[in-house]
Symmetry: C2
Subunit: 153 residues, 2 copies
DNA sequence: CAAGCTATTGCAACATGTTGCATCAAGGAC
DNA sequence: GTCCTTGATGCAACATGTTGCAATAGCTTG
């Protein structure tokens, strides 16, 4: 909760122990997923992760992957948000917390720096008593390009 | 875009004609869904709508309902956003545009008045050239109650 | 009213997750 | 090293949508 978990750093290597400290276990399947996650930059969907795991271990089953992703998320190692269609998108250890700006027209997915949402989130807290999670914030709309191109439509 | 479409008002009654004007058709299945929608306040999920349609017309099939919902959404009659798990939530004719504040702890779903998000959205437009849709904006986090109760946890 | 065009429908199959349950196997105890 | 506890796995079934396609049926024309 307070250690500086570096992106592809030592935090990954200590994962097995972190799990064991919680009474959880380190298994072959989890090692496979870890390998895949370490090689995944940016956002990945659940099915993509499953596909990649199967390249290493063909016997990989969806339920195991999803359940492990849940465990990793509760450990704060990864986080997830939802794409345009509500499908899950996992962020592998975002170096900086960020939200998403997804264009409903072209599908572009831009990162929204936490700082840009800070005052909005602060207002939500002040006015609604609501503590929002930046890394799960997804805003949909139209990106600059699509707005420009479609302006005459 | 400029007519005052009242919640359960005459706009519903003119739906058949609105569809026909676009070269679309008014069918028994759509009438069923319309009946259900008129009786649905607030938010409903796709499967809820299907269930309710089946109460009237047992032969209702999912694909037809989802496709019709898409048509209605493009007409601006309804809109949808995504719940906590990314599942679709349809808003039946929101009188006022609004976003959602969903609590990941208790599941509470509060409405976020468009005005409260206005400056944030304006900033997105200014700084990112991104035109956001308020009615599809879902912010997840912790509501006031859960923040208070869980403060000591 | 009959004919024709084509939007809709319903079905079946698929995609993405989730869940219950019996079985397996980490990892600690002895 | 063996035994045990119980977390994790794999399977099967289900939930929620989505999509391709052939058949159906609105709606306009003549």
């Amino acid at each position: 909760m307070n250690e500086p978990v570096g992106a592809a750093g030592p935090a990954w290597d200590r994962l097995p122990d972190r799990l064991r400290e919680q009474g959880l276990r380190w298994t072959r399947q989890r090692a496979t997923l870890l390998t895949v996650l370490r090689a995944s930059e940016g956002h990945v969907t659940g099915s993509q992760l499953i596909d990649r795991c199967r390249e290493i271990e063909p016997a990989t089953t969806p339920s195991t992957v999803y359940r492990t992703l849940g465990v990793l998320e509760s450990l704060g190692v990864i986080s997830h948000s939802h794409g345009l269609d509500g499908r899950e998108e996992f962020h592998v250890r975002p170096e900086a917390e960020h939200g998403h700006l997804i264009c409903g027209t072209c599908g572009a997915d831009a990162e929204l720096p936490a700082a840009d949402a800070a005052s909005f989130l602060a207002a939500l807290r002040r006015d609604h008593g609501f503590t929002a999670r930046v890394d799960h914030l997804t805003v949909t709309g139209r990106c600059r390009t699509c707005t420009t191109e479609g302006s005459g439509t």
